[in-house]
Symmetry: C2
Subunit: 137 residues, 2 copies
Amino acid sequence: MAREINGRPVIETSHGPVLTPCAPGSVLARLGDKWTILVISLLSLSPDAPMRFGALRRGIPDISQRMLTLTLRNLERDGLVVRHYYTELPPRVEYELTERGKSMLKPLAGFTDWIRDTWQDIEASRAEFDEKEQGRN
Amino acid sequence: MAREINGRPVIETSHGPVLTPCAPGSVLARLGDKWTILVISLLSLSPDAPMRFGALRRGIPDISQRMLTLTLRNLERDGLVVRHYYTELPPRVEYELTERGKSMLKPLAGFTDWIRDTWQDIEASRAEFDEKEQGRN
DNA sequence: CGGGATCCCGCTGGATACTG
DNA sequence: CAGTATCCAGCGGGATCCCG
């Protein structure tokens, strides 16, 4: 009986379940990186109007130009974002979510909603944990 | 008008929306790290029976002992996992999801389902992107 | 058996300067 | 304006050894 958990195949052995490493991990790793979710969030604010590079840069206070460029490249590579280049002077470049990019907004929101409702509790647990640990040192 | 996207406050300025960096990012960063989701997935397979350290280790083929320990510590710190220590010889240590840990399974599944349904398309986009880029070099 | 302690390599990502 | 190039510090994470 092949089962599956979080999109990942599970093999049952005599020692218990074994997870098979598989490709979706690379998607999650990308989304979990430092800036990707922020860029997607910002782009999702204007679903039908592309955003300029500079507007994205200003919208994410601490992002460097380099990291914004790299993050957008990766999203474009994954087919989640399209890049529109206009050869003007000065040049104008706009970005918007693709259909695929928009299709992830709802599932993503379900998860971030959980985080929004829970992170205070998590922070409290962390503080408590750290305090107890300090007592042992 | 204060808005919010993915649990993150948005300020509207004359230049467009600006995202405020905030604490939930640290939760997402943790979940996006290399092993956390795998550990949670494995623990979720036995919702009412704790799992031993060794069983977790065997269930995630390529994880090192060190990283499993660190990942479990962080989950315990976040109050998502409880650790049960039995002073026997040899010692036995078991882990299980807390109620809070279980509460994230459904939202998480919504998101990983999207990944499961989409990652082949994403991989295809990546291959296509890389191929075009190679033409330019 | 579970898990510290230590060493070390590679990648992520920040700062800065230069270009079409 | 929207990049690219280069340099470099920090940290994630693997390998190994030791300990209750």
